[in-house]
C-alpha cells in the first residue's frame, strides 16, 4: 500500500463483495482474518483484507477467474495473490469446511452504510487454532481477553473440528 493512501478502503471492498453476490459470482461472503478480529478487539496493524466466500461455481477454480475479471473491470489490479483496490491488498479465499460454516454464521454488520458480514469471534478463534502461527495464537489470546465469547458455541466448534486451544 502506498504511503499516499490515507485509509483502508474497506467500504469499497465490502461494496465490491456485495456486487459479486448480486452478480451471481459467489453465493455469500464474510470478512475474515485480521480485520474481522479487529471488529472485536483493539486495532492492530494488518496489511490486507481477507474476504472468505462461498463459491457458486463448484469446479476446481471455484469461479476465481470470473471474480478476478469482474473486479479488474471495476479498476482493481492484480498483484501476486492479492487484488488491489486503491493500492490496498485484498485476498478472496474460497471457503470450505470450517470457513464455510463461519461464513454462514457470520454476524451481519454495516460499515459506512455498506451492509456486510463479519466472522463471529468463536469462528475466528477456531480458525486461528487450526492455523496455529504465532500471530494466530496472539489473536486467540486477544479475542479471549477482549471480546464477548460464547463459550458453548466455541466448545462446540472446537469439538466438531477436533481443534484445541493453545495454553495461554
Amino acid at each position: 500500500m502506498s504511503e499516499e493512501s490515507s485509509a483502508i478502503p474497506l467500504a469499497d471492498v465490502l461494496r465490491a463483495a456485495n456486487e459479486l453476490v448480486s452478480a451471481g459470482l459467489i453465493e455469500d461472503y464474510a470478512l475474515g482474518g485480521a480485520l474481522a478480529a479487529i471488529y472485536y478487539v483493539e486495532p492492530f496493524t494488518t496489511y490486507d483484507a481477507d474476504i472468505i466466500f462461498i463459491t457458486k461455481d463448484k469446479t476446481l477454480s471455484a469461479g476465481i477467474p470470473a471474480i478476478y475479471s469482474h473486479l479488474q473491470s471495476k479498476g482493481w489490479r492484480v498483484e501476486r495473490e492479492h487484488l488491489l483496490v486503491k493500492d490496498f491488498p485484498v485476498q478472496f479465499l474460497a471457503a470450505s469446511g470450517l470457513t464455510e460454516e463461519a461464513v454462514r454464521n457470520a454476524n451481519p454488520i454495516e460499515y459506512e452504510g455498506v451492509p456486510a458480514k463479519v466472522f463471529r469471534p468463536e469462528y475466528i478463534i477456531a480458525i486461528a487454532a487450526g492455523v496455529g502461527r504465532h500471530k494466530d495464537l496472539a489473536r486467540i489470546e486477544q479475542l479471549l481477553k477482549q471480546a464477548k465469547i460464547d463459550k458453548a458455541v466455541l466448545d462446540d466448534i472446537l469439538q466438531r473440528y477436533k481443534l484445541t486451544l493453545p495454553k495461554l
Binding site: 500500500m1 485509509a7 471488529y39 486495532p43
Partner: protein
C-alpha cells in the same frame, strides 16, 4: 484501556489501522533512505581508502582553501 479500544466503532478502528500502516510505511521509507545513504558513505570510504593516503599540515590545507588559519578568531 485495551477493552476501551476494543469497544470503539469499527470505522474508528479501521481509521487507526490505516494510520498504523502509514506510520509503518514512513518508518520503512526512512530506513531505506538511511541504508542508501550508509551504503553511499561506505562506497566513498572504500574508494578513498583504495587510494594512497597523503597527509599534509592543516595550515597548508587552510591556506589553499583560502580559509583563516586555525588559531584565528576571525
Amino acid at each position: 484501556m485495551r477493552r476501551e479500544f476494543a469497544r470503539e466503532s469499527f470505522e474508528e478502528k479501521i481509521r487507526k489501522v490505516g494510520e498504523l500502516i502509514q506510520l509503518s510505511a514512513r518508518v520503512k521509507a526512512e530506513r531505506v533512505r538511511e541504508a542508501t545513504e550508509d551504503s553511499a558513505d561506505v562506497a566513498y570510504l572504500k574508494r578513498a581508502r583504495a587510494k594512497p593516503q597523503h597527509f599534509r599540515p592543516l595550515d597548508d590545507y587552510l591556506r589553499e582553501a583560502d580559509l583563516p588559519p586555525k588559531n584565528s578568531n576571525k
